[in-house]
Symmetry: C2
Subunit: 236 residues, 2 copies
């Protein structure tokens, strides 16, 4: 059986891929990258952008369209179509890589691809990568958690009170995709007592020109929380 590699690219800075991930990319005959369809019909892929900055065979890159993140049925159909193409390449003896941003096991849609491949009896190996929150923290020297602190990683938030209660209990809280619950986060920032530190990141690692960081409450409250943003909140 032909081996397919699911390769984590890390947070966006091409230099934050692992040696192993880069080696597998260079060994691959075909590299599948999720992409979004632009208004002009072209495909845009952050993953492909990362690959272009690395020394690999660009002819191997195969961007594949994936529908908007909130339309799961359409996205699943797109992953199914990509898996058809991957299976056909494997049948011809080619080594295939599938890329994932961040780490492929941590809030990644690459799990759909692995599952669909497994249904066809095609096994995959997975190469680990750096999750976005780890890279964000490193870029500003922020400690995520230490000693016996608990770390909670959230992708939804019911209320400002919920966040403040977690921090008051001594937990370190990572807020992923805060664009979905920006008002609750901003309410928490406005209400938080002294001694609660909010570390806010936009586009960290991916794009030095657009990257933004602040731990000043007034500065964070002015931001619009784009899709590529996250916060680390803890006592500090």
């Amino acid at each position: 059986m032909h081996l397919i590699s699911i390769i984590s690219l890390g947070p966006g800075d091409p230099e934050l891929i692992t040696l192993k991930g880069l080696r597998r990319l260079r060994e691959a005959d075909a590299i599948y990258c999720p992409a979004t369809v632009q208004p002009d019909g072209s495909l845009a892929s952050r993953a492909a952008d990362i690959l272009r900055a690395l020394d690999i065979d660009l002819a191997a890159i195969r961007p594949f369209p994936v529908a908007m993140r909130d339309d799961r049925a359409a996205a699943l159909a797109d992953y199914g179509a990509a898996v058809e193409r991957i299976a056909a390449e494997c049948a011809e003896g080619r080594r295939v890589a599938v890329t994932a941003e961040g780490d492929a096991g941590f809030y990644s849609s690459s799990g759909y691809v692995s599952a669909l491949l497994a249904e066809r009896g095609l096994s995959t190996e997975r190469i680990a990568g750096i999750p976005a929150f780890v890279a964000c923290a490193a870029s500003e020297g922020v400690v995520i958690a230490e000693q016996t602190e608990e770390t909670d990683v959230l992708t939804t938030l019911a209320s400002a009170d919920e966040l403040l209660a977690r921090v008051a209990a001594g937990r370190s809280v990572v807020l992923m995709k805060p664009s979905r619950y920006a008002s609750a986060v901003k309410e928490a920032i406005a209400q938080a007592p002294d001694g609660v530190a909010f570390h806010y990141f936009e586009h960290a690692g991916a794009d030095a020109e657009r990257a933004f960081y602040s731990c000043r409450r007034d500065a964070i409250l002015e931001r619009r929380f784009p899709y590529f943003s996250l916060l680390i909140v803890r006592r500090g």
Copy 2:
């Protein structure tokens, strides 16, 4: 001011360091690695072992002794002594790297070094690395968390009930350093209803010969939970 790099080495597999981390190691004149004093007086360092597997200048490696993990006062004194040496090397114009296993911002003692260096007005940059739980999951194709699941990372656990309640609430739980609370974990494994998946890892990434993985409850209950072990527990 001379720049000092805190470099995350990742989980132990030398190939899971980032390109950026490796570049900084090669640029450094001196590389400080935490080590433990062996019964014969020699220094053992997992970090130095990783460096020896990479193509860097071995003459730059400076293992420094750090007292047992549970003796914080002694460990702090050891970090202070290392910072003295680092400051002296910087004063002579050398580029210094300090290594951390996993990621330096995520339950790492390298924060002590950064803080002590900051007290002397010496700034550091930090290079991100892959935390152990991310590498463990990748090695076995285990999904850590997806969609809107919450991820809780714990280094202590009050009871088996606490763990089972978190999983029943739909959370994905990473148990770090379970050697400290092995009995509570084993009690949870014995009591858990069907549909709770326990993924247990020993020495993942670090040592292929000693690496062990199981998701079978009876097999996990037989293990002794050494220091380098962790679990991922979720509905599955």
